[in-house]
Symmetry: C2
Subunit: 338 residues, 2 copies
Amino acid sequence: MAKDKILLAHGSGGKITHELINNLFVKYFRNPFLEKQTDSAILPGYNEFLAFTTDGFVVDPIFFPGGDIGKLAVAGTVNDLAVSGAVPKYLSCSFIIEEGLLISDLEKIVASMAEEAAKADVPIVTGDTKVVNKSKCDKIFITTSGIGFLPDVHKKISTGPDIHPGDKIIINGSIADHGMAVLAARNDMELQAEILSDCASLNGLIRSVLDAGINIKFMRDATRGGLANVMAELSSGKSYGLHLDENKILVQENVRGICEILGFDPLYVANEGKVVMVTGEKDAEKALEIIKKHQHGRDAAIIGEATTEHPGKAWLTTGIGGKRIIDMLAGEQLPRIC
Amino acid sequence: MAKDKILLAHGSGGKITHELINNLFVKYFRNPFLEKQTDSAILPGYNEFLAFTTDGFVVDPIFFPGGDIGKLAVAGTVNDLAVSGAVPKYLSCSFIIEEGLLISDLEKIVASMAEEAAKADVPIVTGDTKVVNKSKCDKIFITTSGIGFLPDVHKKISTGPDIHPGDKIIINGSIADHGMAVLAARNDMELQAEILSDCASLNGLIRSVLDAGINIKFMRDATRGGLANVMAELSSGKSYGLHLDENKILVQENVRGICEILGFDPLYVANEGKVVMVTGEKDAEKALEIIKKHQHGRDAAIIGEATTEHPGKAWLTTGIGGKRIIDMLAGEQLPRIC
């Protein structure tokens, strides 16, 4: 493996991405905001705090069951803000387009962005368009950035410093849908039951939990690297372990099938409409009840808890009663999934 | 010309870009912030206003005399905020990288971004990295977004509603350096005197003018489409004309030479360190004095004024005394210049 060149794995969100971020970006850009490495930077505003985030979207194919690159670019950035505890307020979008893209395809994407922005109730307020020569990019790449207003009381949600053994881990539904939907679309697979991406803006769902006065101790969307990556990152270096019970984690039948055929572990597959929350034991049932009422939370479940066992690690009790450590993935499981 | 496909001209910043923006982006994303079509969106913050901007950078080649894609990505976004009258506060960066890029090249770019961010005194607080397969992008594309704090008193600077005949037009130096530097680098031209891009963050220069109490009525950086585009856009639909005196506009000798050889009009060539300001007649000399003291303003000049003649148009008195209208460029003069 050449060490002097960028590999697909550098974009995986796993260990090698972290190395690149630490050895290059954080090293050179060093400042207290960036060093926190949360999905949204938490920034002093005039009076209260701002959340600020950016994400590039290069998904292939650009249209897939359940969404497209435009919907993904809006929902992904809305979610990065929302999981920080912020109220998403404004979005920007920057298009890099390959010469020759059908304007009708661009229009579909733009219409889909507008629809998702309206659903999430976050306006797209500024943008940019660049066009590059044919074969110098792949149809279209979209980078969205977002600003949210962050009440002081939610400032800790993205880092989760107050988690203790006994706290519960909640997710708002099934895992691995997005990754497998894109993979099936990319390979033109003929499936008995179509897999839909779970791509959706979760700010409404999250707001309903916060507004009910639930103390969400930690929240993150389980995108690249899947649920496993969120757990591995959160537990790393902590005095507690994070335990998941495989029996509680929903994987839809058709998704499980394609994962098994192709050799993917659903825990590591990207989601685009799933948020992982950690709350105190007492809050968990109430939170679950609220989430289940929401369109994007019907299949929500408590899937695990923080433990005194295996401090600093995430670990899984498998369906047949075995135990395994959930490590961060080193390389790339599925390039261009988002 | 196929009407159903994206052309390089759609990314030119000229007429065809405007058509795309209006017929697609503004049509679908419609909201009062976006509709202003300023480089930075002006947004209500908690108490004061926020400026929010984004720009994708796809310059080819990624290294050129006077800068590189990283320096450009930082300075370009800092400048978009600064010309809106805002104090640039935070930057984000999103990298889309082609598999196989030399990590040493990425490091040069990142170091250059860090250096420019430090010069401009604006931290890069959040980012994202995606990697795409070889030949699916061209080395590296960078999208930077920025947030600035905008004092209420400067809110009109980006639209310039208070311009009247007699007001003066100021620019902080020579034009067309960036475009010709990139073009010369792209074509490996052997020049007697190397052309350096003017790529630079101008927030310091701009702040010194505003802090002196100068009433800047309008400000914009003259990037894609050059000085001509700024003048054509500003004058469009207005009750005044904008007159430029070609004799006052500095074009460096080597830049003029290459423009003449290759058939480019320097008025339309991209700059990356040039700001156009409009002030009242009385303020103009004072503003010029302040700008000239600055490292990036030594060759500043008053190059024209708002007129009662030719309302709604920008027009030029040529070096030999002729007159011509400065129209917005329809298509693409130089693709991938920024």
